[in-house]
């Protein structure tokens, strides 16, 4: 659990973060969003003490981080950043193994860990371990960057726009991968981004920041439904709010039991309502058949159910 209590940070007397209080629960993905210069990256760097707080305290599991040794603290937290920051003179394996080596793990354990992480990110050990960062594609390098952040098995993972420099397709597949991996490892993740769709997709809770202050801290759907003020409303695209919310909701939660013949057009139960809507518009139909991953018909999704949203 991470707690920020009245945290401020000044640069040359100008506040970049001001009076920030926040509680991040164990195992959640907390995404900090805001326009550039709003203080979101600064907040992240305060957490691992790359920057010091000008005032206020940050506690991790009840312990004030100012009292801890900065380097030990950082080794307990994974850190992944936009341009990966991979060490260009080291192989992929050495890059991933750097924190375990700092933690003085025995060599066989480091190798096993590197192997495990590479497989976890779908990068075969045999073909990637000895490559240098310059030989990787953008997506591969970013996977290695995240793998490196996870290598020391940290409780907390800090991610500063890690997918910001990737093309949309790679970005989406990495987002999916992060969710898949998080479902297995349950880290506490603090994730900074300016991409609101990314925030809505990944976050269990979103922190909206503006000019160094928290504007709203809420779940993605509540942010869409009850924006705290015009700034948040604007940020999450007034006109497209319905679609954004639909992309958070799963078809499976809205479908009705199947009665009679299945409709011709099908949608997956794990797909979002947004995708379902798109299918309806494209095929000019008001009804979809909901199927599971194996293709078995589970139910039916009429347009009325879409408008109603998930049933409680």
């Amino acid at each position: 659990m991470i707690e920020l209590d009245g945290v401020s940070r000044l640069f040359d007397g100008v506040p970049a973060v001001e009076g920030m209080s926040l509680r991040i629960e164990r195992g959640e993905i907390c995404v900090i969003v805001g326009t550039s210069g709003c203080g979101k990256s600064t907040t992240l760097k305060l957490l691992n003490r790359l920057l010091a707080c000008s005032s206020g305290t940050i506690r991790i599991d009840g312990q004030d981080i100012a009292e801890l040794d900065a380097e030990r603290l950082r080794r307990r937290m994974g850190y992944a950043i936009q341009h990966t920051g991979l060490f260009p003179h080291w192989t992929v394996a050495r890059n991933i193994g750097v924190v375990p080596r700092l933690l003085e793990w025995p060599a066989p354990r480091i190798e096993a860990r590197v192997r495990e992480l590479l497989e976890l990110f779908g990068l075969p050990y045999a073909s990637f371990a000895d490559k240098f960062p310059s030989q990787l594609s953008g997506g591969q390098a970013q996977r290695v960057g995240v793998a490196r952040a996870l290598a020391g098995d940290p409780e907390i993972l800090l991610m500063d726009e890690p997918f910001g420099a990737l093309d949309p397709i790679t970005r989406e597949s990495l987002q999916n991968e992060l969710l898949r991996i998080q479902a297995r490892i349950h880290k506490t993740i603090v994730f900074v981004t300016h991409d609101l769709d990314e925030a809505l997709k990944l976050a269990s809770r979103i922190v909206v920041m503006d000019r160094g202050r928290i504007v709203q801290h809420d779940t993605p759907s509540r942010l869409l439904e009850q924006p705290a003020n015009a700034f948040v409303e604007n940020l999450f695209g007034q006109g497209e709010r319905g679609l954004k919310r639909a992309s958070l909701q799963r078809v499976g939660a809205c479908m009705l039991p199947l009665q009679g013949a299945a409709p011709a057009v099908s949608v997956g139960a794990e797909d979002s309502l947004r995708q379902a809507l798109s299918l309806m518009l494209w095929h000019r139909t008001g009804e979809l058949c909901v199927r599971d991953a194996e293709g078995r018909a589970l139910g039916v999704l009429p347009i009325g159910a879409v408008l109603q949203g998930p049933r409680a």
Binding site: N48, L50, E71, R72, L73, R74, R75, R76, Y79, I81, Q82, H83, T84, G85, L86, F87, P88, H89, V98, V99, L102, F132, S134, G145, R148, L158
Partner: protein
């Protein structure tokens, strides 16, 4: 390991030059007949006051002393002023390094004499002073030119400052620093030869003596040896640099 068969090949050029230098040092004295053609009227044709091997060793000793000091001081200063607590000195030091390189080496050499008198000591001192600048400049350029995100990642991962310096900053800046050291060596070897004029015994001696006495055989002998020495060292460094910047 698969590079094994070609591992020796890049060293062929410096090795060849080195052999040529050694051959010249030991057999130049045998070529009296050849030099006779150049200076038919001279009484002596081979520089008599010291053996070429002796001069080469002296030259190397002066260069080694000056270069070793210059590299360690330049590297140390470059590292110190790029740390957080030395950063106040960075603007001044980098400006001085830039301005200092406009001073002609001969002038620096000449100005060392009023301070330290004649001999090897002022030569080493002047070479050190002048050789410091390329190392310092390139160390600064190398350390400051590192990608910011790599340094941020290194710190964010929990590396201690010394470790960041030794494992990340210096290896990444090595090619640039090495280029500075190469410049330092080239200048040092060249200026040490001129050190003969302030009383240091180097391979410049035969050239100066030949110019003073009008004996072009001496001049040619000294010039050949100085040239071969400079080229051997430079081509050795070229290999070293290529090995390090293989990626």
């Amino acid at each position: 390991m698969s590079r094994r068969p070609s591992a020796l090949r890049p060293w062929l050029a410096p090795l060849g030059w080195l052999l040529l230098l050694l051959a010249a040092v030991f057999w130049l004295g045998e070529l009296e007949a050849l030099f006779r053609a150049l200076e038919p009227s001279a009484r002596t044709l081979i520089y008599p006051r010291a053996s070429f091997a002796r001069l080469l060793l002296n030259h190397l000793a002066i260069v080694a002393a000056a270069a070793l000091l210059a590299v360690s001081l330049g590297l140390a200063a470059g590292i110190l002023v790029t740390r957080t607590w030395g950063r106040d000195f960075l603007p001044l030091v980098s400006q001085v390094a830039a301005i200092g390189q406009t001073f002609p080496p001969v002038a620096v050499l000449a100005l060392a004499v009023p301070l330290l008198g004649f001999g090897s000591l002022p030569t080493v001192f002047a070479l050190l002073l002048y050789g410091l600048l390329p190392v310092l400049r390139n160390t600064l350029a190398g350390l400051q030119g590192l990608p910011a995100e790599v340094l941020e990642a290194a710190r964010g991962i929990g590396m201690a400052p010394l470790r960041v310096l030794l494992e990340v900053e210096l290896p990444l800046a090595a090619p640039v620093i090495l280029a500075g050291i190469r410049t330092t060596l080239t200048v040092t070897i060249a200026t040490a030869a001129i050190g003969s004029t302030i009383g240091a015994s180097t391979l410049g001696d035969p050239v100066i003596a030949g110019l003073v006495n009008g004996n072009s055989a001496y001049v040619l002998q000294g010039a050949l040896l100085i040239g071969l020495l400079a080229i051997s060292v430079d081509s050795g460094f070229d290999c070293l640099q290529r090995l390090i910047t293989v990626r």
